[in-house]
Amino acid sequence: MGPYLIRRLGLMLLTLAVTSVLVFVIIQLPPGDYLTTYIAELRAQGEMVPQERIDYMREEYGLDKPLVEQYLVWVGGLLQGDLGYSFEHSVPVSTLIGDVFILTLVVNFATVLFVYLVAFPIGLYTATHRYSVGDYSLTFIGFLGLATPNFLLALILLYLANRWFGTSIGGLMDPAYLEAPWSVAKALSVLEHLWVPVVVIGTAGTAAMIRRLRANLLDELNRPYVTTARAKGVPPTRLLVKYPLRMALNPFVADIGNLLPQLVSGSVIVSAIMSLPTTGPLLLRSLETQDYYVAGAMLMFLALLTVVGQFVSDVLLAVLDPRIRLGGGLAK
């Protein structure tokens, strides 16, 4: 297990390094840089910019240096926790996107939790009570969840939350707290607003997971080893949890790797509709204006999530399944 982990970590770092090169190159690909975009905008407004000023800014921002050097400066900064400086907003990138990232993570972590907490009991119930009234009704609701467009659900829930609980529409907190420093009251306000986006973003995932868990469990419930355990006299509930459920977990654990980045990038439309202060809109804007460091930091963040998610799911799989843990080396 030890060497396996070390090798996996090494591969992770390598993947991130390669990704950073790609990200940097791709951001630089469009002709010009932030300054040319900026100057073009100024000129369009009829302002004249003296050449000295342009040269000064270019030197100040380090845009006159060779690409390799710019890259090294950027990556060196990343390694020290310095995400760079936003040209457009004239603030450090970390200040610009810090809150956004934290809120994005809060929303998505809550969504994952919601999906698992709701999907597992229902999936278990429908698999063990197959073809019962409960199974049919839950299956029906699940299909409704799969079929309802997210934005529609978002609008309905926002309206209902406002009607019933007086929650302000849109955003992740009451407007009063927007510029306020973090406090208990602000956190409570976030919690109050959180459930709507979580339900909206999570519904489709929950419905899909219920279906998959049910199908997986049904497969496992008929396996001979379940009969063996019954013949040993294992009580039904304990049997269900110890044997088939454990086997049915594998696909879900394997899925974590896809889940993390998908949740971060997949909720753009819903974020736009509910005007959530999450990463989607910011990333789009920074790419348009060639605000290198903002775009770079966000893309690297997505890459990091993907790689970490993949790593976590691989490690969990190895912990859960001895065939992967012990047999992996032989099977190759």
Binding site: P3, Y4, R7, R223, P224, Y225, T227, T228, A229, R230, A231, K232, G233, V234, P235, P236, K242, Y243, R246, M247, L320, D321, P322, R323, L326, G327, G328, G329, L330, K332
Partner: protein, 648 residues
């Protein structure tokens, strides 16, 4: 025999009891047991008024084909009937136990109730058929065996682990302490079955149900497991209820037998007289269907339901395609020749430094000749390299050294060196029949699609003709041409294997490669398929390479038998001679492991451990391979060859 004969209701026979058996000698009484299954289409009576008695310390066998209800009875006794099954009548009672447990009526217990849970695994335990799937792949052997102790003996996990090692030792595990922390996938099939036995033994049950305990195993492993069961039964004075379709196993293990057919008891009584003079025609038929090692060679097996093979139309088809069968039968050139064929696999270790461990020899130095129109039997245990050898012959695998030469009558050609066009032709000339008829047919294709696909791939005939040919092929294997629109799941195991044979014959091959074609089938169906293959071979002039782990089966189809062990050929002889005059210790071990359906020919358990000889380094002097692992043929005359070490 028609179904009407067997379906006639008969009163349940009197419980078989030995002379002088005391009334309280009975441990398990089954009375008028009737079990119904709820189906979407109505209800199905799987067990109909069955009655028998299992004596303390005795071994009773329930014998029957798939679908006879024998496993359902076992499930009822174990208390694990599926949800869809209900006991419609009758009782199953278990007398007082050895440790003072009160008598209990199993059929009256609540499903998954406390009393039922206490019974399962503690007083009644089952050894299941398929050791590969009957153990959870995610839990250690120690966990799974120890679970019984935790549930029924109140031991803690830690105490259980220590006790499990003792139980594994009792099941003759080579390294019981190590096995406690191992997972099932790290063990061989035989060892997994031992783990299964250990699990059943852990609760010290009064009744041990062995549900086809050896059907999934090799003949040699089967002999070991049977011997172990027999020894343990005597040591622990358990009663064993043996569920099997294999009369050879019955003859070796049981004292009494109950023959079941379609949920009813046809015949019951002590084993010896029943084997000598089977009364019911069904039992007689079952006996005739078992391939035997001794007695006249080439006796045609008598299947329960004979297949009528219709070859006339096929001849017509063959003539249309320009190869008359008479011509094919006439020549006897060497069709297939393997010259010094080797297949090595590099042993890899994980990590950056690969290829440290040297090579594994899957096949080493194999020389073989197969003449046109003959059948060569290749015998060996699983893992001996016989399937690898077959794949080398098909050209799916490439040999590491040596040549595979195929001659269709126009000169030998090396299979590995064939160009595209020759290889396409070769694939028509050599066809494969797989072991498992359940997984070798695509469940999403109809029979028509399955049978016409090879014709389509090789561009034979117009679409209309292809369907006609498919119909002919179905008739050829004794199936109805009207079944063409069906999917494989609506066929039984034997019918599916017939479909596989029909598919293999679609391209009018010269060479038929049969890889354990009957080992997944019931004995009665096995006889049917073996006869079909023999008939087809005669009618179509086919050349066959027939692989099996069971010498008795091979003896019935092959002209010559070659025995393979650890990648080597160890003995080759005409079929009859090999069975009667085997020289090589490994061949002798294989022969002694086949359970003959005759109670007087029981293999003594103590012989078996010693005769097991699949390790070449343990062979006695002339047969032990040289230091470099090489062997050479010693010709004993009459086509009888035996491998000896170079030093001899």
């Amino acid at each position: 025999m028609t179904p009407a004969d067997t379906a006639r209701p008969r009163p349940a026979p009197a419980p078989p009891a030995g002379p002088g058996a005391a009334p309280d000698d009975a441990l398990l009484r089954v009375r008028d047991l009737t079990i119904d299954f709820r189906l979407a289409t109505g209800s199905l009576r799987a067990v109909d008024g069955v009655g028998f008695t299992l004596r303390r310390g005795g071994c009773l066998a329930l014998v029957g084909e798939s679908g006879s209800g024998k496993s359902t009875i076992a499930q009822c006794i174990q208390g694990i009937l599926p949800h869809t099954a209900t006991v419609a009548g009758g009782t199953v009672t278990l007398a007082a136990g050895r440790r003072g447990e009160p008598p209990v009526e199993i059929t009256a217990l609540k499903r998954d109730g406390k009393a039922m849970l206490d019974l399962r695994g503690d007083r009644v335990a089952t050894i299941f058929q398929e050791p590969m799937t009957a153990l959870s792949p995610l839990h250690t052997i120690g966990d799974q065996v120890g679970e019984v102790l935790c549930l029924h003996k109140g031991l803690s996990r830690r105490q259980a682990d220590a006790a499990v090692a003792d139980i594994l030792a009792q099941a003759r595990f080579p390294e019981p302490r190590r096995a406690v922390t191992m997972y099932p996938f790290e063990l061989s099939g035989g060892l997994r079955q031992r783990a299964m036995i250990a699990m059943a033994l852990a609760g010290e049950p009064d009744v041990l149900i062995a549900d086809e305990p050896t059907t999934a195993l090799d003949v040699t492993t089967q002999a070991e497991i049977l011997a172990l069961l027999d020894t343990l039964r005597r040591e622990l004075s358990m009663s064993v209820l043996l569920i099997t379709h294999d009369l050879g196993v019955v003859a070796h293990m049981a004292e009494h037998m109950v023959v079941l057919h379609r949920g009813r008891v046809l015949e019951a009584g002590p084993v010896d007289p029943l084997f000598q003079a089977p009364g019911h025609p069904y039992l007689k038929a079952l006996m005739g269907a078992v391939p035997r090692l001794r007695g006249e060679t080439r006796t045609r097996l008598t299947p329960l339901r004979e297949i009528v093979v219709n070859t006339e139309r096929l001849y017509a088809a063959k003539r249309r395609r320009g190869t008359a069968p008479a011509e094919a039968q006439a020549d006897d050139h060497i069709m297939l020749r393997l010259a010094d064929v080797e297949k090595r696999y590099p042993l890899r270790h994980g990590g950056l430094f690969r290829r440290q461990g040297g090579d594994v020899h899957a096949v080493r130095g194999v020389n073989l000749e197969l003449r046109a129109g003959t059948c060569l039997g290749l015998v060996g245990e699983s893992g001996c390299g016989k399937t690898t050898l077959m794949r080398l012959v098909t050209g799916v695998l490439r040999p590491s050294a040596g040549r595979v030469l195929f001659d269709a009558g126009d000169g030998p050609a090396d299979v590995t060196a064939m160009d595209r066009r020759r290889l396409t032709r070769y694939r028509r000339e050599a066809q494969y029949i797989f072991q498992d008829p359940f997984s070798s047919l695509n469940p999403r294709m109809t029979v028509r699609e399955i049978l016409t696909e090879p014709l389509l791939i090789h561009d034979v005939g117009a679409p209309r003709e292809r369907v006609d040919m498919a119909a002919e092929l179905l008739r050829l294997v004794g199936l109805d041409a009207r079944m063409m629109g069906r999917y494989p799941h609506s066929f039984s195991g034997g019918q599916r294997q017939r479909l596989c044979i029909a598919r293999a014959l679609a391209l009018n091959p010269r060479l038929l490669l049969c890889d354990e074609p009957v080992s997944a089938l019931d004995v009665s169906v096995q006889a049917q398929i073996l006869n079909l293959l023999a008939d087809l071979r005669g009618a179509l002039g086919l050349t066959m390479l027939f692989v099996s782990h069971n010498l008795a089966v091979v003896r019935h189809v092959a002209d010559t038998i070659v025995v393979m062990c650890a990648g080597r050929l160890v003995e080759a002889a005409p079929a009859e001679r090999l069975v009667t005059e085997a020289r090589h210790p490994y061949t002798q071990a294989l022969l002694s492991a086949v359970p003959e359906p005759d109670p007087h020919l029981r293999v003594r358990p103590e012989d078996l451990g010693a005769t097991r000889a699949s390790d070449p380094d343990a062979w006695p002097a002339p047969y032990r391979p040289g230091p470099d692992g090489a062997t050479r043929w010693d010709d004993l005359g009459g086509g009888h060859l035996v491998a000896v070490g170079d030093s001899a």
